[in-house]
Amino acid sequence: MEQLLLLIFLPLAGALITAFAGKSAKIVSTVISVVSLGLALFIACNFIPNASTQFEANLPWIADLGIRFHAGIDGISMLVVLLTNLLIPIIILSSYRHDYKNPSAFYALILFMQAGLLLVFTAMDAFLFYIGWEAALIPIYFICAFWGGKDRVRINMKFFVYTIAGSLFMLMGIIYLYLQNPAHNFDIQAFYALNLDSAQQGWIFWAFFIAFAIKMPIFPFHTWQPDTYTAAPTQGTMLLSGIMLKMGIYGVIRWLLPIVPTGVQDWSCLAMVLSIIGIVYASLIAFTQKDAKRLVAYSSIAHVGLISAGIFALNQQGLQGAMVQMLSHGINVVGLFFVLDIIFSRTKTNKIEELGGIAKSAPQLAIVFLIIVLGTVALPGTNGFIGEFLLLMGVYNYGIWAAAIAGLTIIFGAVYMLRMYQNVMLGKTNELTITFTDIQGTEKLVLYIICALIIILGVYPKPLLHLTEASVQHLLEQVNQKLTSVK
């Protein structure tokens, strides 16, 4: 329990310290985030990979309203907690080349967001989950709107109103479940045990699904995403794509599936179709993108589409694949955005056609970029492969037609990612890229860590799978049990 409380409140305390750290905010926040990572690793080492909830903290908070500070870690949480605490120091390190104005506010907001994310990923109380959900949104809004690029104010307002609309409907669903719960609390186990008829499950499904779908984002709720990713500062984009969108995926797995399984079953066909439309649609748009950052943004929609398709297939492979792919996608997409940021900072452009031949002057960057691209397109031996393989297997078990179309994502992805790589890194150098300096210092450190993770997890994914296996199985049993009992 103490470990978990420390895990959540360390970044929060860190945010406060960083806010008053002035010029040394960069260093302070790095130290705090690295300590958080150490703590997460420590918890992961002491984590027994079975289906139980561990390190549980269950403290009274607002007793009159049945709200408790109830958090805990099972296999599913463990993975996303690791992802969060792994990516935050990487994201902070990746900002070393930048001199943001008001650095103390910038880094404090990142750490504040980390606390919100950890709350989301460990909450076992729906109210706490909602608090974390919003607490993660406010800092990223400020990060993107304050330090972002052109037209950031309008774009971020759209992003904010979009996401908050989703979460308000989720709040409505949460209140409804609370009222249905005879014990009048927000405890997740009590919510699991609720017996709702299929009409109730149907609308609660939508109340939650829209919130999660906007966050991921799933077609047609994605329209805020490319603009926001492009206008955000690189660290903001990394936070959004690397960690924040996992909130939506995690929400589906943790809250949607076990609470309203009948609703999920009734609507899974539609969710599957939306996911697959998203995959094809985003891939096709990615083909036509001239800006590398937008291309990666759309590829992210395609990848998330596959993950959600795997989840709504409602089987072990699909869910396991989703878990692994959450981690892999987080690492890869952060790597991609970092490389694009490096290129942008040197050439002042991310337009694919204006670049070319960078590999000649920056061979090290070419290698690490290639590894990240290969991880993204799921080459066997990289971290992307195992996740996408499992996801496709899961979707295949759901329906061959679905798997056939969803499988296009790999082919499409390979085409547009490799073509982007080719046009940016290979070919003729021009006046922009001739003076390109290779990666150095923290850039090297960050990219090497990312590449090492891509390869290690690709070659030896067993500990990762082992971590989540029991929890995922348990979750599916719960879902199936409830499905049979409702009939």
Binding site: D64, I138, V161, L171, I175
Partner: protein, 457 residues
């Protein structure tokens, strides 16, 4: 009773101090008086005393008295240099605000409808004068006249309603009226119903609920900003407490009858307030319209009268009061520097005044209802109560309105942090810092640990 006496005596002392030109002593005297009144409020806790059958200082009355007194205290702290710059006769400001406060204490603790009327009039007459206290200012005159005409009009409705109810029940006493409704539930006099509706209209006028809201924007804009602060926070809170005391208490057995017209009022208030606030270019006017929309959320709790509704009104009113005080305090500071109160004058405020801007941001987040601020807990309780009665459509409607609210509150945040502006440095007097600090602390503490206020009543 002690509370009203203390406040009234303070008002007289301040008036006499003004007569002897002891302008420096006014604020300390007032603060001491109000703190004493606050002390009496605390000491009467759980007493539930009935005073001459006219007033009942139950915990409901005391909690709302406490909020009103603290709110007034903070507003008094904002007077530094404010009145002094505008007028020589500043003692009148103090006295009138104190008299209004005494009226409000009656409004939150009446047991007899006559007392409601007396309290309401003491408050209103003081406010009519306060709205027009800048004698040479055209807008202030207009505000005062409008307020007076509308106020007199609405008092007429209220009185007529009281008369009809007296005719039906033969009593002004709330308990007796309630007993009448319970005893004669099959044969309620037909004149009772129009009485309820007329009182509803009269009180809706006073709290500025649509469609009886037309006076609010002009009066709020025209009055001196500090008076606007007072009217839109403390006065509003007292108005709602009076509303709640009547409808959740005496008229509660008739809930099925008056809920339907009230739902119409709620929906209109929410929608008109929010949509109109969206299009305002003037910060003060935006706050005026947003105060209409908050009246809508507050009325929400009346739609479903239950054990929770009193507490949720208290939480919401507290959250709203302190967030608004921050907003108005910053507005006063900005206006002193730039001379106007449009959104544009807030541009770039965050660069030179990060702490003031941060306070304003927290206030806006609270008004918009973002978690970890008091405003969220308030909104949450409203949604919870209404969902509890399965008015799901109504909650969905409120959520849509909350979304519109996000949009215009965030416009302030955008202006403060993200827009380029004149980068003027505000001169923030120490008392303003105290007010901002206290209000921000209350907003955050109630947002993070609302348990301290949830079981008050």
């Amino acid at each position: 009773m002690n509370i009203i006496i203390t406040i009234s005596i303070t008002a007289f002392i301040v008036l006499y101090a003004g007569l002897f030109k002891a302008n420096k002593a006014l604020l300390p005297l007032t603060v001491v008086g109000l703190l004493t009144a606050l002390g009496f409020t605390f000491s009467a806790w759980n007493g539930n005393a009935v005073h001459f059958g006219m007033m009942q200082t139950d915990n409901f009355a005391l909690a709302f008295s406490g909020v009103c007194i603290i709110g007034t205290l903070l507003i008094f702290l904002l007077t530094q240099n404010y009145f002094h710059a505008k007028s020589d006769n500043i003692a009148e400001y103090y006295t009138l605000i104190l008299f209004a406060l005494a009226g409000m204490i009656m409004m939150v603790s009446y047991k007899n409808m006559a007392m409601l009327f007396v309290g309401l009039e003491i408050m209103s007459v003081s406010l009519y004068i306060l709205a027009g206290i800048r004698k040479k200012d055209f807008a202030s005159n207009e505000a005062s006249l409008k307020y007076f005409l509308m106020g007199a009009f609405s008092t007429g409705f209220l009185l007529f309603g009281i008369t009809l109810i007296y005719g039906a029940t033969g009593s002004f006493d709330l308990d007796k009226i309630q007993a009448y409704l319970v005893d004669n539930s099959k044969a309620i006099s037909p004149i009772f119903y129009p009485g309820v509706i007329l009182m509803m209209i009269g009180l809706s006028f006073k709290v500025g609920a649509a469609p009886f809201h037309f006076w609010t924007p002009d009066v709020y804009e025209g009055s001196p900003t500090l008076i606007t602060t007072f009217m839109s926070t403390v006065v509003k809170t007292a108005g709602f407490a009076a509303f709640l005391r009547l409808f959740a208490g005496a008229f509660e057995p008739l809930h099925d009858f008056w809920a339907a017209p009230l739902i119409v009022i709620v929906c209109l208030t929410l929608f008109i307030g929010n949509v109109t606030a969206l299009f305002q270019k003037n910060f003060k006017r935006m706050l005026a319209y947003s105060s209409i929309s908050h009246a809508g959320y507050l009325l929400f709790s009346l739609v479903v009268v239950g054990a929770n509704s009193q507490n949720s009104v208290l939480v919401y009113a507290t959250a709203y009061t302190f967030a608004s005080i921050i907003a108005f305090a910053v507005l006063i500071l900005v206006k002193q520097k730039t001379g106007n109160d449009s959104f544009d004058s807030f541009n770039g405020l965050g660069k030179k005044n990060p702490l003031v801007a941060l306070s304003l941001t927290i206030a806006m987040l609270s008004l918009a209802g973002i978690p970890l601020t008091a405003g969220f807990i308030g909104k949450y309780l409203m949604f919870l109560n209404v969902m509890g009665e399965y008015h799901t459509i109504l909650v969905a409607f409120a959520i849509l309105n909350a979304l519109i609210g996000f949009y215009y509150y965030f416009r302030v945040i955008v202006a403060v942090w993200f827009r380029e502006g004149a980068e003027t440095e505000l001169s923030t007097p120490a008392q303003y810092k105290v007010v901002l600090l206290v209000s921000v602390a209350i907003t955050l503490i109630l947002g993070i640990y609302p348990a301290i206020i949830l079981n008050l009543i």
